[in-house]
């Protein structure tokens, strides 16, 4: 009798393994970039378009996103019927420093600022660890800022080292002073798409690019 149970157990495992090896896993897409580049605004835009719900809080205060925000099983469908099931990962903005005094300048109390700084540093470490786990990345830069910084070079360089597909987004094109050409010049080895996450400009083009590159 126990031999039959063992055999049934093995059979179940075999079927389970067969399924897991043929089942298409969702693609994890990480939204990376420095603080205040517009990652959460874009994540909300995508999530709202595809699921009807927002996924992250947005604020002018840096490091609003201090832990990885996930939206699972987001399905993107192209006009020709191709689909992608994605897990969207809105990452904390990566920076090399977090000074609690910057938060007090935004009107936060000192204790609250110190707590926020601690959470932000943990978030940055978490986001960096996730560089090993994403299948593809949208790297988002603020087009009004200089894109050639060591933070950005480090993010892109690590993704390149692991052959993770990258699409760079030159965001905030709606703002005066936006200059997406600087983003292109800084990272000529990657495709750059100009978007305004806030205004929803070129987001359809972004969906086309995701389908084209990842489906």
């Amino acid at each position: 009798m126990s031999g039959v149970k063992t055999m049934i157990g093995r059979l179940k495992k075999l079927i389970s393994d067969l399924f897991s090896s043929t089942e298409q896993d969702d693609i994890s897409i990480g939204l990376y970039g420095p603080p205040n580049a517009g990652k959460s605004t874009l994540a909300n835009q995508i999530s709202k378009d595809l699921t009807g719900e927002e996924m992250s809080d947005v604020s002018e205060v840096p490091h609003e996103t201090r832990a990885v925000e996930k939206k699972e099983q987001v399905t993107l469908e192209a006009e020709d019927g191709r689909t992608i099931d994605m897990n969207l990962l809105d990452m904390p903005g990566i920076s090399t420093n977090v000074d609690f005094q910057d938060f007090t300048e935004h009107g936060l109390e000192e204790d609250e600022s110190k707590d926020r700084a601690k959470e932000a540093t943990k978030g940055i470490v978490e986001a960096i660890k996730y560089l090993d786990d994403v299948d593809a990345c949208l790297v988002i830069f603020d087009s009004t800022e200089d894109p050639y910084t060591q933070v950005n070079v480090t993010i892109i360089g690590n993704l390149e080292a692991k052959d993770i597909p990258i699409l760079i987004l030159a965001n905030k094109t709606d703002l005066e002073g936006a200059d997406p050409s600087r983003v292109r010049d800084a990272f000529p080895q990657h495709p750059v798409l100009e978007v305004s996450a806030k205004e929803g400009e070129n987001i359809d083009k972004l969906y086309e690019e995701i389908i084209e590159r990842l489906s």
Partner: protein
Amino acid sequence: MSDDGVTIEFLSRDKLSSHALEDKLELVIEKVKDDAVLVLEEGWTPEEKRTLITNAMEQVDDDFPGIEFMGLDSGQTRLDKARNLVYDKLFDEKARRGLTIVGNSRVMEKIKEERDAVSFLAKLESEKE
């Protein structure tokens, strides 16, 4: 930092090559926490820079807000990448051409960075907020 200036310390490639990465990072962050600006005679790989950021973040507290760093390594051209590959495969070491500059973020300001030129303003103790 001295009373009226910023200490800028230059570390040669020979000195740096005698340290494993973790030891090197410990040395760098210790000096940076003491407000020195370090000029290292070597370029760092993206993976090493990632570890530098992670280690610095893990040490951030009310007195140490983290670092600024700049690189004159490029390593972006095909020639650089080919050279790195040769060094990696043949000599089992990184090519490490270039410079890396690391400092306390409360000391370094107005950072301007291009592939082949970098500049920053070192803030004196009396000017620190």
